[in-house]
């Protein structure tokens, strides 16, 4: 028998999509039965009470979690989000219901062993509820009591060789697309770089010393499967500089209808026979392709590596060989002054361990600048807007180029530096008045 009546959320059990309510109930039941006789370290009925508080929220149309809660593990400034219920008498099982952010392995491949071990810890010490994964990328262990935080931390470090991720004003858990591991479009090993940076900057990740949060994300190509350009302060996106590799025979096979376009992504509807002119050439944003006499030509100089043609004909077209990444800076969510996309900062850089150039010329100078100049709770993107993109270029020693802009400024309000203007700014009004009477 359920501890609380939940008529409203029960309605979320129907329908084809996996029901989180059903899952939550299944966990509640499992804990109630406790077949394995576990000595749960978090209230056994935590899931029942979560169902209950959720039902209450559905009734009121308002959350029933209190504001914040400062808890954590010793020596770390993040990785834990404290949370308390605002109806603890009614729902004692979730009176304290903190989450822990466990740093996911780059690319999110798992062995069942790892997962099962982690589940064992969390069943014992937490609510038995998780998020696979949080929006930043962490494994989110959802709901435990304060005394268990250190215990879980001890267990995951000792038993699972795994650490917490970020929260607070620090480097957040970096994340990446699966990259070369299973994608033919990847221009660099996103997982390797993501892993490297996560470890290289453990201190920045665990000990808040920044004005606000900072995020890295790594995308193997400009399809941007980890959405780096929209939500990371520094995003690394794979690209290349030389020709797209063309297999002319395979092109013909596409034209002949032997291979489904876009790897079959549109197979659900009859879009008619493949039309290379319309579908590929005509959609190329730069108009740099030609298909004539059975031959496809790409004018590399004009190509912006948008991936479209490669996406449509992955068996015929392949990314170039001279690979690296484009770095964009400053993406963030809308709070406070509106959302920002990452702005292109480095058009091309080779990606090679140990990434010295990137660390020394890009990441660290940017952090220094931001730590020096950034206001409390000011994201990098906001600082760039406040102090200018030019300032970011100065800080990173990058020369301004037309590629940095979508279009040049349309207001002519150029700020000059005194040293750029012959004679400087100090002038003598009396000298001027000799030639110009009042």
């Amino acid at each position: 028998m359920a501890k609380h009546e939940t008529p409203m959320i029960d309605q979320l059990e129907s329908g084809p999509w996996p029901s989180f309510v059903s899952d939550l109930k299944q966990e509640a039941e499992s804990r109630a039965k406790n077949v394995n006789g576990i000595d749960y370290q978090t209230p056994q009925n935590v899931c029942d009470d979560l169902l209950g508080v959720l039902e209450l929220s559905y009734k009121h149309g308002r959350t029933h979690w209190k504001h914040g809660g400062i808890v954590g593990v010793f020596g770390y400034g993040g990785g834990v989000i404290g949370r308390y219920c605002d109806q603890p008498e009614t729902f004692p099982g979730v009176a304290a219901f903190h989450t822990m952010r466990v740093n996911q392995p780059s690319g999110k491949y798992y062995t069942t062993k790892f997962l099962k071990d982690l589940m064992d810890i969390w069943e014992l010490r937490g609510s038995g509820l998780t998020n696979f994964h949080g929006a930043t990328g962490d494994i989110v262990l959802l709901g435990t009591t304060t005394p268990q935080l250190e215990e879980v931390f001890y267990d995951i470090t000792h038993k699972m060789d795994t650490d917490l991720g970020g929260s607070g004003s620090n480097l957040r858990t970096p994340s990446c697309c699966l990259g070369t591991s299973r994608c033919e479009f990847a221009c660099f090993d996103t997982q390797a770089m993501c892993h490297y940076m996560t470890n290289e900057y453990q201190d920045e990740l665990h000990r808040p010393a920044f004005p606000y949060k900072f995020k890295f994300k790594f995308d193997g190509c400009s399809n941007c499967c980890v959405a780096s350009i929209a939500r990371s302060d520094l995003s690394f996106i794979g690209t290349w500089r030389d020709d797209i590799r063309i297999d002319q025979e395979a092109v013909k096979a596409y034209v002949g209808g032997e291979i489904p376009p876009n790897a079959g992504a549109h197979a659900g509807r009859d879009w008619g026979p493949f039309d290379i002119q319309k579908e590929v050439i005509g959609n190329c944003p730069t108009n740099c392709m030609r298909y004539e006499n059975g031959k496809l030509e790409i004018n590399t100089k004009e190509c912006t590596r948008c991936m479209h043609c490669i996406n449509v004909m992955p068996r015929a077209l392949r990314i170039g060989n001279d690979r690296g990444a484009t770095i964009c800076a400053g993406a963030k969510a809308p709070i406070l002054d509106g959302a920002q996309m990452g702005t292109m900062l480095v058009p091309f850089i080779k990606i090679e361990e140990p990434y010295d150039e990137i660390k020394e010329n890009i990441i660290e100078p940017i952090w220094e600048w931001w730590m020096e100049e950034g206001k409390n709770r000011e994201r990098l993107g906001e600082l760039i807007r406040r102090q200018s993109f030019q300032k970011l270029l100065e800080v990173t020693g990058i020369k301004a180029m037309a590629q940095h802009v979508q279009e040049p400024r349309s207001n002519p309000y150029v700020f000059w530096k005194e040293e750029e203007v012959p004679g400087g700014w100090t002038r003598d009004i009396n000298e001027f008045r000799k030639y110009h009477q009042r």
């Binding site: 914040g68 998780t130 994608c183 992955p314």
Partner: protein
Amino acid sequence: MAFISSGYNPKKPMEDRITDIGPQKFDQFYPPVITANKGKWLYHEILEPGILVHVSETGDEVYTIRVGGCRFMSVTHVREMCEIADKHCDGHLRFTTRNNIEFMVDSKEKVEPLKQDLASRKFNGGSQKFPIGGTGAGITNIVHTQGWIHCHTPATDASGTVKATMDVLFDQFTDMKLPAKVRVSMACCLNMCGAVHCSDIAILGYHRKPPMIDTEYIDKMCELPLAVAACPTAAIKPAKVEFEGKTLKSVSVNPERCMYCGNCYTMCPSMPLADTEGDGIVIMAGGKISNRISMPKFSKVVVAFIPNEQPRWPTLTTTIKRIVDAYSNDANKYERMGDWAERIGWERFFDKCEIEFTHHLIDDFRDAAYYTWRQSTQFKF
């Protein structure tokens, strides 16, 4: 309950402490076929919705079955996945950037049994545990946030709105009939933890009432200057208030200037915003992230407010369905929703989606608002 120690000694927190080790190295988790073929993949194909094959230059193949994950998962559910992966995939699996689960096998024969197994599993309530789909020109999982399950600032629930919406969009999850991918994202407040600001369709929790002030407690619980400084519109001013005969330090909020962003509440628990009737949902549309054909772009607000109609938010889901259908009927192959709206003109978007345009949708936030107005005689009647 008896406290079971992990070995941690609260008196000597540094004893045996392991810190700053980061996550385990990713390649320890690779299935063998991935280890063997990493960086050697030649091409891929979507064999049917949810089922991909990647072919390597070594001749190896990896078959991936993608299944919908509702992200909020119990230990029991994860163990069930593990059981499946043990049975079919030599103990490996992965999660995607949109919270789906991918089961990989190294030969075609292994696909069918795995598929059968996945399809056969249902929750007690009747929903599928592991629906196969989410690939190609369709709708994949909705990335989302905490909502009423765990957060203190939401204006709506996350898991519930997502469940209701995915039920309505389920066909698009399992077929690939759309002109291009449609990415639906959900965030339960303006913090937009899901980065829904660049999604084809975004479901966004939104407050509509200025914060209340818990006068009696505010000075004890908050750093007033921080609360004042937090407000992006300078709506908050320090104030002195008479309360039960005492003069208390507090703040006042100018409701005309407040845009209900909740930033003050983030800094100060004595300024709650939540309200049954004030809270609800904004629908945004036409954003994208990929650089394919067109550049990434922000989603635009297309419905200023839908009340919270829990548990199944019918107005929300039918509106979304209408948008998806209109797009599906009208867009060109490969054309993302935002590109479609721009091609036909946003005035036609509203016509075709049968959404009423209201004054709320005209940008009035800061100077840059101007750039979204129409500075041309080119428009459609």
